[in-house]
Subunit: 209 residues, 4 copies
Amino acid sequence: MGQADRPARERILEGAYACVARRGLAKTTVEDAARQAGVSRATVYRHFPGGREELIDAVVLWQFLRFFTRLYEELHHARSLHQVLERGLTFARRSLRQHEVLQRVLVTEPGVLLPKLTTEMERVVAMVAGFLTPYLARYALRDGVDVHEASDYLARMTLSLICAPGSWDLEDPEQTAELVRSQLLAGIVRAGAVDGSRPRSTRGTAVAR
Amino acid sequence: MGQADRPARERILEGAYACVARRGLAKTTVEDAARQAGVSRATVYRHFPGGREELIDAVVLWQFLRFFTRLYEELHHARSLHQVLERGLTFARRSLRQHEVLQRVLVTEPGVLLPKLTTEMERVVAMVAGFLTPYLARYALRDGVDVHEASDYLARMTLSLICAPGSWDLEDPEQTAELVRSQLLAGIVRAGAVDGSRPRSTRGTAVAR
Amino acid sequence: MGQADRPARERILEGAYACVARRGLAKTTVEDAARQAGVSRATVYRHFPGGREELIDAVVLWQFLRFFTRLYEELHHARSLHQVLERGLTFARRSLRQHEVLQRVLVTEPGVLLPKLTTEMERVVAMVAGFLTPYLARYALRDGVDVHEASDYLARMTLSLICAPGSWDLEDPEQTAELVRSQLLAGIVRAGAVDGSRPRSTRGTAVAR
Amino acid sequence: MGQADRPARERILEGAYACVARRGLAKTTVEDAARQAGVSRATVYRHFPGGREELIDAVVLWQFLRFFTRLYEELHHARSLHQVLERGLTFARRSLRQHEVLQRVLVTEPGVLLPKLTTEMERVVAMVAGFLTPYLARYALRDGVDVHEASDYLARMTLSLICAPGSWDLEDPEQTAELVRSQLLAGIVRAGAVDGSRPRSTRGTAVAR
DNA sequence: CACTAAACGAGACGGTACGTCCCGTCTTGAA
DNA sequence: TTCAAGACGGGACGTACCGTCTCGTTTAGTG
């Protein structure tokens, strides 16, 4: 079979990923993952000595990295902060929504996932903020607005919106652009500095300019 | 023993909770929980016919409700939005940090918790925003600031800060008050409307007034 | 099923015994034995905490005791030493020959069984000799023949013949009687003391009278 | 290492032998034997294509032959039946007692070894009897004693005594000589025919002269 | 002297069985 | 009846070997 020559570790990760997508985290068996990967159970333990736990963690990390890799590819040619935010929101939201494993886990594992926010969120917020900072630095910010506070704010709001868009449809470019302009950047960048030509929103704003 | 006459269901929940705190979610056994509650395993299945899964879910829900009950008690006498936000941030952050089960889960179950954000977050954001709206309605907001957008913004930032405070120490009342004033409300309420007597922050702000 | 109410331990022993008879000691699996006994693998480990090893030992001991119980029933009504030896030789030899497990083991486990003679043989020789002593005591022995030496001698020869009858057919009562008379007892009991009426053998004797 | 140039097969046998001596038959691993022999596991399979089973059998056979070779060297210069029996008993008993593998197996593999008697014993009895016959032929036997019956008797008693000496100490030449004279040969060879000068035993005899 | 062929070390792999742990069901006996 | 106690079938886990196979690397042996 054509898959036979790809590194075993990756095949196992994919097999496990498929099983999680199909049956949820808790019901995924080492045996299942091995069979799905076309590999014996022993081999799974050879590649993941920590057993089931290490395997599951590896799958999560693997998808995590894959997501950010793609996100980076999506964003690293953006030329304005508006573009970064719009594309980022849309891509992240679509990824999240389409992500089969996540969707499966969401209906299968109720109540297991409330925590983890603390540890992980801290890192993610810092990372996103760090990514946004250089973009912000190129803008004329409103008086009294600190670059780092602003990027922290943008990171938090962005992540929150990705997870829970509320009434916004982040996969609609129009709405997303409107959201970025009126809600996220309105209180930060000087009016008209960029994209001033865009039509005014009819919605209210969260923070005043 | 004195606990013997309390309803069995509650004793079981507490036993399970203690076990989760000690060993983590995944390693908690029906047997353990039963023993901890001074109850036979069969009785657990009588009260939680769904078995282990239902038991774990019940424990999570139970703690979830307990948290919000206490949060409500903490907040329902607050007389200003500032007070609501300050007390809420401090209380929630302290609860999160001290919550033994959460802490145990965080070190025990890495990688299980990235998801769940979508479904649950949406509800939580809405709930928090709904709770804040009446408070906001009593304020003179800055021009163009919409009440609902603003409460949505506050809910998102608040939740984000509780999970990942970054450089803020939310258990320090001084810092929290400063955070609320300069970062959360600065762009929303009219300058000097409330708490105008407080000293100016030396930190920058995220969004301009 | 009708077997369901017999004690589990015994059912397992029988299942294991059947498997050993079919496949040999080394190839007998706990799984096999369990299935044969109509019992889950876990139950086998509940009854034999030492696992496979304890199970196999128990089977061997079980059959061992069964054999000696039957042998005792066969012999305890014998009224003369000749009868004891004849019936004992015949019964033991037939048991050994018909014993399906032994036969299976003999062809399946070559070379594993040379030892064990030391430890076990010592006990068996002593036991058999002890069993024969009272019978010998009722006889008029030849001059200089010691009762204990004689019973030791009879025990050794008897066991040896059971295991390796050589040219004797121990399942033929005629031959066996002849063997007992001319080979085993000739040098021990006074001529004509008992069974003197029997015809003389045409075979030689091992030890002179 | 100095052993490196000895044929691999022999090194493996010795390695396996050492492992069996140390851990018993059942717990001896191909891996262990290979490591002990300073050889890779693959090489073991190259020399013993039958795998573990063939290896174990080969070890047993190897030791078996080694024992009989040495026994032959011990006996082939003996000049009398008494000498043959005395030296044989002493040598065999000492070999059996000192044989580390056997001793280890005896404590490690209880219950595996009751059988095997039939097939193997028959051969061994015949072999020993055949070895003894020419010696007996040189003696004046008592009246009515048949040479073949007598050698069969001697073979059986000898083997039995080697395995289970009872109260005799076969490694004591005095006792062994006494045993041979008073118990084994007393009923067979004519009184005084050989070794007539030896002092009379104070023990009884099993079969009368 | 290079070159080939055999033997070897190393190690990945599929597979089987082991012994352990836990789940969920069920029965029994005592309060 | 309700519950404690516990046996049981079932199933997954992680471990340990087995036997097979494929790689490179010696190590001779031969042209």
